[in-house]
Symmetry: C2
Subunit: 289 residues, 2 copies
C-alpha cells in the first residue's frame, strides 16, 4: 500500500499528534463520586441480578450516620441521574434533602418484572404477543425486593428505615402496584408516566377498589406525565383519573402531588420529574431537621 510518496509520510504523524487531546498540557481522569455494582443471586427470580449502589460521601461527622434509600427501576436509564441529584441536593450549601443512598436496578426481563398482570395487549389494546410474552411478574419482583434485595442492602449499607420507590413507565406502574399491594414496603412512591393503560387500565380499577374511602395511608406519592399521545390521549386521561380517584377517597395521611409536563416527552420528562419528586418528598426536610 503505497498511498503517499515517502517524503510526505511525516504528515500522518503530525495529524495524529494534533488529534490527541491537550497539547503541552497535563491531562488526568476526572473523578466522579464512586458507586459500585453488586451481583446477587435471586432465588425468587432464579437469576443473577446486578444492583447499582451509590453511597453518600461521608466526612468524619457523618461516620455513624445512617441514610434513607431510593430504589430506582430502569437502573441503566436513571440511576446515575438520581445519584447526582441526591449528592447535589444534600450538599451543605444546597441543603434541600438529607444525604441518601441510591440503589439502581437494571433490567433483565423488564416486561416480566415490571407489569402486574399477564397480558398481551399493547398500548392500543391490540394483542402483541412478541413484546409482552411472559408479562405479569411484578408481584414476584416485589417479593424479590422485600425478601432478598432490601434485606441485603440493609445488612451491608448504613441505611435508615426510610425508603423511596422510584419508577418510570412500567417502573411507574410497579411503583403504584407496590403502593396498593404492599404499601408498608416503602415510605414514598414516585410514579413517572406510569403505564396505566396496561391490561385495560387494570391498576386504575384496582386503585378504586383497593383504597377504602377515609382510610389511612401515611405515604408520600408523586406521579406525573408528559405529552404522551398529546393532551387528549387516554394516557393523560388515565393520570387525570388517578388523581380524581385519590381525591375522592379522602385518604388520611396520603400526601400526593400530580404534575403534568405538557412540553416534555415520555423520555425527557423523567429528568425534571425526578427532581420535582425529590423536592416534593423532602419539602419539609429543611424545617424539621
Amino acid at each position: 500500500m503505497k498511498l503517499l510518496p515517502y517524503s510526505f509520510r511525516w504528515l500522518s504523524v503530525v495529524v495524529v499528534f494534533v488529534a490527541l487531546p491537550a497539547q503541552a498540557q497535563h491531562t488526568q481522569t476526572y473523578t466522579y463520586p464512586s458507586s459500585e455494582v453488586v451481583t446477587i443471586h435471586s432465588k425468587l427470580l432464579k437469576e443473577e441480578r446486578k444492583i447499582y449502589v451509590h453511597c453518600p460521601k461521608v466526612d468524619s461527622a457523618d461516620v455513624n450516620k445512617r441514610f434513607p434509600v431510593v430504589y430506582v427501576m430502569d437502573g441503566d436509564n436513571h440511576f446515575a441521574l438520581l445519584a447526582q441529584y441526591v449528592d447535589y441536593l444534600s450538599r451543605p450549601d444546597v441543603s434541600a434533602m438529607p444525604k441518601t443512598i441510591v440503589i439502581g436496578i437494571p433490567n433483565t426481563k423488564r416486561t416480566r418484572d415490571l407489569t402486574p398482570t399477564n397480558s398481551l395487549l399493547n398500548y392500543e389494546g391490540k394483542p402483541d404477543s412478541s413484546s409482552y410474552q411472559g408479562s405479569g411478574g411484578n408481584e414476584n419482583f416485589l417479593q424479590f425486593m422485600a425478601t432478598e434485595l432490601i434485606p441485603m442492602i440493609d445488612k451491608n449499607y448504613k441505611t435508615r428505615p426510610y425508603k423511596i420507590f422510584a419508577g418510570h413507565s412500567f417502573g411507574g406502574l410497579s411503583s403504584l402496584n407496590c403502593l396498593l399491594t404492599h404499601p408498608d414496603l416503602f415510605d414514598a412512591y414516585i410514579a413517572i408516566s406510569p403505564s396505566l393503560w396496561w391490561d385495560k387500565e387494570y391498576l386504575l380499577k384496582m386503585t378504586d377498589e383497593t383504597l377504602k374511602t377515609g382510610s389511612a395511608l401515611n405515604k408520600a406519592f408523586f406521579f406525573s406525565d408528559g405529552n404522551e399521545g398529546r393532551a387528549n390521549s387516554f394516557f393523560h386521561k388515565d393520570l387525570v383519573t388517578l388523581e380524581a380517584t385519590l381525591a375522592k377517597k379522602k385518604l388520611k395521611g396520603l400526601d400526593y402531588r400530580y404534575k403534568h409536563y405538557p412540553t416534555e416527552t415520555h423520555m425527557t420528562e423523567p429528568v425534571v420529574a425526578y427532581f420535582d419528586a425529590l423536592r416534593f418528598i423532602f419539602k419539609d426536610w429543611e424545617k424539621h431537621r
Copy 2:
C-alpha cells in the same frame, strides 16, 4: 487496654465482616462515562487552570462527527450535571439534542473572574471589602476564554462551531456580560439567577445602553431566577427589568426566554433551569436534523 475478656475478642472480628459491603456477592466499580481534567497555563490569568472535559461516547457511525460545546462556569458545581444531561438527552431513544462536548471551568478566584467591574458593594449595596477585593476581572477572563481556552479546545477535540455559555449567579452575570460585550464568541447564552444587583445594577444599565432598538442579535438567550429574597425582592425585579428591556429593544433574531422558579432556591434552581435551558436552546433540533 483490656476492654474485653479474651474469650469475647472474636466478636470484633465478626462485626468488621458484617460491616463490609456485600456478603457472598461479587462487587465491582460502577463505570461513569469518562471525563478528563486538562491543566493549561494561562498567560492572561497568570496561573495554571484546570479544565474539565466531557466528550460524547462515539460509536463507529460517529467517528468523523463533530460536536457543539457547552462551556459551564463554576465547574465544581455543575459540570457533572451538564455532562449527564447532554449524554441522556442525546441518547437515540431520547433524541432531544445533539451529542455535545461539555467543558467545565472550576474556579480559582471566582469574584475576580466572574464580575464585570471593580466594586466592593455587596448584595445590599453596602461595602464588603473582604469578599469583593479584586473584583472586576471578567473582561480578562473572557479574553482568556476567547484566545486561550476555546482555541485549545477547538484544536484538541472534535468541536463544531456552535458554542453555549452556561453560568449561574456570578457565572450568569458573566454570561450576560459576554452577550453584551462579545456576542459573537458564543451562539447561545444561559444566565441562571445572574447577580444583576452587582455594582448598582451595572449590567442592567449596560443592557439598556448597549443594545440598539431594532438591531440584529442572532443568539439564543435563556435567563431565570428562583425565590432569591422572595417574590418582591430587587433580585427578582432586576430579572423582570431585564426581560422588559429585551422586549422593548425588539432585537432582530434574539430568541430569548425568561423563566421564574418561585419554589426553587438560589442553589436548587440550577438543576431544573439548566435542563430547561438545554430544552429551550435545542427546541427545534429534532425537526431540523
